[in-house]
Symmetry: C2
Subunit: 414 residues, 2 copies
């Protein structure tokens, strides 16, 4: 008797995965190791930035009052009384037409309230002359002009990028609170799969899903263990999944989720008493994608067809991993772009098409042969066209939804 | 006497860096370690994909001729003579109304030319009945329908993504030819800099450029060595740069490139007899960004101001690193977006503003306080607004150029 499955709307399926994703425990990581984690705490300015009034230029710190009346016909002379670089504090207190030679980043000496750029001066034996008057505060980077002590400068859930690391370093952080990354077990199933070091006997194909998903996880620097399936029967596979669950937060399988005679995953979810969140999604490819929860652990049953497997990862696994890591935003942006080629297939279910998006021109085209088992189009894609279910096909020039999965470089500058 | 520098147009400066970037030597990497490299060879299909006619569904392989005339009123009976999963080859040759129960991915048995999906059958003791006729080739994934042996499926210069790894795995690659990554020395200069483990004495600030650039390099998994500057004088810094050049392909310094009294980099380039490609770029911030070549080695002298340092890395270092690695495309895409806020400053030089791009709405806004020494806006940015030199400011709603530096997630699904 063939099992009947009720398809779930794809956004509802994504939401169900996220709702089920439990946040990982808090840990401290050193800022050098923090890249790719998400802030688990707001970052609050520990002091004003800049910390002190400073010079934004190489030049001379002066009292602006002393420059009053300066002009091309009336160059005023200043006397250099000190000379400081960044990192040094002048002990001088300026009066009258005194000046301190000062370099970019150095604190403004006491008594000074303006900075004359080197380019604006003519050197003399004693100091320099200038030909214009200066306003109080001119050419000074004011203490606190970027942010003041106590201000929230970055919020929890922000992805830690090199720019975030720069902020953490600025505020003297040596480590930062984040959420641990989930550890992942990766299991490619299917009796047709030959590993890279095995002979490609008749009827066999290479296991490409395993290396692909491992690569996708590596891009997020997830701690991943790949399990090798050595015999294609239920008991063996169940034992592997049980072993994986004993060690990992997430178990990703590829293949075995459909209704075929050798699709063991549905029986394995049952044997584990896992709560199946869905086993049919109203989408193509990958309608048989199944996600199950066992306590706080998630089991992602991705399709064995590469294009379906890839789409399932992008749609369900990636947002869930981010949610577990405490990300504020977990969804890939979906933008509008113009189809550069006809796509005439009807779409009973929402269709995802691996695509080449040209951000510069705002156009998009399928990245090649587009069946569920296609693999080359994945490699050529940086996005997925999303065609709503119930539509009869689209023409070149139509505006369509495009999920941007990857930022790709272009040939020329702007 | 103040040195006069002639500003170079920013695109010309970028081009000069790329022209000077020499391709790294060829190496073989295992496909597991190949992520983030660029293909140094075209990938040619070693065989047809699919390799053989196969079933895209779980069902029965039949002779289509035997289904002629089937209808709801005239269900035709088929006899199951074999049962195969993916990876198995049936030894049966079909005749008449014989059928082989076949699973997704399994090779089509001899004599069969169509596949009936399980859902289209009603099981009987001997096999099944069906109610529709099938065309020759119906529900068969044809050998070579995705690509044929000898076809170039991916070209040299393509970035190795998880999808590319899937293609390499498909064609039995265990390793692939790429260009080595350049090794990078990173040297943060400036007497005002306090390392994370040093006291923040008056006049000092934290070294944020070092950790930031290290993070940017880590995102490309570059082999980076950070050199610590322990004394701020010319001889010490020269010795460090010489040591770095003896070990690395690329030397990145931050700070010390301007015309200040403690800016030692210009003298160091001279002492090394390095060929200065430019030392002034018609851009804000970072106009003093300097790039020099010493044989095949490149020295990037980035500004000590964080926003300028960051922009210099994105504009000059990143494309050069990609060029050295053999990337076909090395430039970040520049798209059009609508300003969501006024930007009224005049732009004598081309201005780069760290910005928040909302790809979904197509709008962009400055990411915060926007002086050369700002750091928080870098952390909040995923792009840079590019305002051409010679313009007097822009208003909300104006269409501007935006360099997309980072793909950021969004709050909701489409």
């Amino acid at each position: 008797m063939l099992e009947k499955r009720t398809p779930l709307n794809v956004q509802a399926a994504i939401e169900r995965c996220i709702d089920q994703s439990q946040k990982m425990p808090l840990i401290d990581v050193s800022i050098e190791d923090s890249l790719g984690y998400y802030l688990a705490e707001d970052i609050i300015a520990a002091y004003d930035i800049p910390m002190f009034d400073k010079s934004p230029y190489d030049g001379y710190a002066i009292r602006s009052a002393a420059s009053a009346g300066a002009s091309g016909d009336n160059r005023l002379a200043f006397k250099k009384i000190d000379h400081i670089g960044a990192g040094s504090v002048s002990t001088s207190v300026l009066s009258d037409n005194e000046a301190v030679r000062i370099m970019t980043g150095a604190p403004i000496p006491e008594g000074a309230d303006a900075v004359v750029m080197l380019e604006q001066t003519v050197e003399t034996a004693e100091g320099f002359t200038l030909r214009k008057s200066f306003e109080p505060g001119e050419n000074i980077s004011r203490q606190g002009e970027e942010c003041t002590k106590g201000e929230v400068v970055l919020t929890a859930g922000t992805k830690i990028t090199p720019g975030v690391i720069a902020v953490l370093a600025t505020f003297s952080y040596q480590s930062v609170k984040v959420r641990q990354k989930p550890t992942v077990a990766l299991i490619a199933t299917g009796s047709e799969l030959a590993a890279a070091d095995e002979e490609l006997a008749p009827g066999k194909i290479r296991n490409s899903n395993g290396p692909m998903i491992a690569g996708l996880l590596a891009e997020m620097e997830m701690d991943t263990e790949t399990y090798r399936v050595t015999a294609d029967h239920y008991e063996h596979l169940l034992a592997i999944v049980e072993r994986a669950l004993s060690k990992h937060d997430i178990v990703i399988t590829t293949g075995g989720v459909s209704v075929g005679d050798f699709d063991f995953m549905p029986a394995i979810y049952a044997a584990l008493s896992a709560d199946v969140l869905f086993n049919k999604v109203a989408m193509r490819p990958g309608s048989v994608t199944t996600v199950a929860a066992k306590g706080s652990q998630l089991l992602f049953g991705l399709s064995g067809n590469p294009s379906a497997c890839y789409s399932g990862y992008e749609l369900f696994v990636k947002p869930a991993l981010k949610e577990m890591m405490g990300a504020a935003n977990v969804h890939a942006p979906v933008i509008k772009a113009r189809l550069a080629a006809d796509f005439t297939k009807a779409n009973p279910f929402t269709r995802f098409i691996r695509a080449e998006l040209d951000m510069v021109s705002g156009t998009v085209r399928p990245a090649g042969f587009n069946k569920s088992n296609a693999v080359i189009a994945i490699a050529r894609s940086n996005s997925m066209i999303i065609l709503p279910g119930g539509t009869r096909g689209f023409k070149a020039g139509d505006l369509v939804d495009v999920m941007v999965t990857r930022l790709t470089d272009v040939a020329g500058t702007w």
